[in-house]
Symmetry: C2
Subunit: 178 residues, 2 copies
DNA sequence: GCCATATTGTCAGTATACTGTCAATTAAAT
DNA sequence: ATTTAATTGACAGTATACTGACAATATGGC
């Protein structure tokens, strides 16, 4: 961040504020891009009644059948409290089913239903289209650069959020069956 | 987006899904960075009782005294409905005041209070620190590149969100006094 | 085996976001 | 001038997010 003033001397006068304090802040730009990304996802996937978060949860349950809510939250780095409601909605739509774990009475295991597997398969092209659209305005080389820097940044800042991502391999040694 | 399969022939078989369908999607990465950006902002600004959105609103009211809620929403590209609650909270904290417009009985004009101007002045260093922290893990040259690409992308996708940004100059010719 | 500790799912409370709607008011059309 | 359009702020409803708490259950140290 460049300094907001170029005063050569320290001063107690109020700093003059400009809109640059908003527009050039990376946090503001990330917020805008998130809004845009969600809007494009919803637009492309209107026919499927799935939000971006619900899609991510569905993909993860598909690749990790029998995962529980806490581990699901770690694999996609979504808040555990938030995920409770997401799971409820996916269950209400009958895209997933929950079964109590025989090993741990606290845990409820998550599985895709036929309808869930079906909608996941069908929504893929629309999701890809939305993801492509949000980078479309950039030149192909710039898209690659941005995606690379973004991936690095998310990874390097992993511990900064409440729910850091703990990918599959990081979960294996925590597993009840491993 | 790379194709999810490398099948040489069209097929009706279900596509094998991997976590890449989540992890490599730009929309997912933007969501993560937004989470991280908010977490860092809240952490650095804990002493000031201001959220990122409230901060952006306060900056804008500071640079546009007497702006109304609808124009405020256009200048920072936040949803009008959402902004109503944000304004209420800023008013409850006595950081802003609302006065009815003498020219238009529908409109309520927004002004910073002394306390609002004061908190805005005091929070600046913490905000700058948070913004710097989220890019810190990258090399300086990469930070510049990312910020540049991100700025371009937000600008070029401006119309994709519900509330496109209409900056100050775009508002002037809509103004009641212009 | 018992007790302190940790984990799981859940819940209440707050704060963004978006959709759609509405009454009051203003501006535009004719 | 009167009907029509658009605008403004507000509201209800849904969906993320995070904080902090809680009961039920598991696990570890001893």
């Amino acid at each position: 961040m460049p300094p907001r003033t170029s005063s050569p001397m320290p001063s107690s006068k109020p700093t003059p504020v400009t809109m640059d304090a908003v527009y050039t802040a990376p946090g503001y730009l990330f917020r805008r891009m998130q809004q845009i990304a969600v809007a494009l996802f919803i637009e492309e996937c209107r026919a499927f009644d799935l939000t971006p978060v619900q899609y991510a949860a569905l993909v993860t349950i598909s690749t990790h059948p029998g995962i529980d809510a806490t581990r699901l939250s770690a694999v996609i780095a979504f808040d555990r409290s938030t995920l409770g409601n997401v799971i409820e909605r996916l269950q209400a739509k009958e895209f997933i089913a929950r079964k109590p774990s025989p090993e741990d009475k606290r845990v409820k295991l998550l599985y895709l239903t036929k309808a869930g597997a079906s909608v996941l398969n069908e929504i893929m092209p629309a999701v890809d289209k939305a993801q492509a659209r949000m980078l479309q305005p950039l030149k192909p080389a710039d898209r690659k650069t941005l995606l690379s820097l973004l991936t690095q940044l998310v990874d390097l800042n992993n511990e900064a959020s409440r729910v850091p991502l703990r990918a599959e391999d990081a979960l294996e040694h925590l597993g009840r069956s491993g």
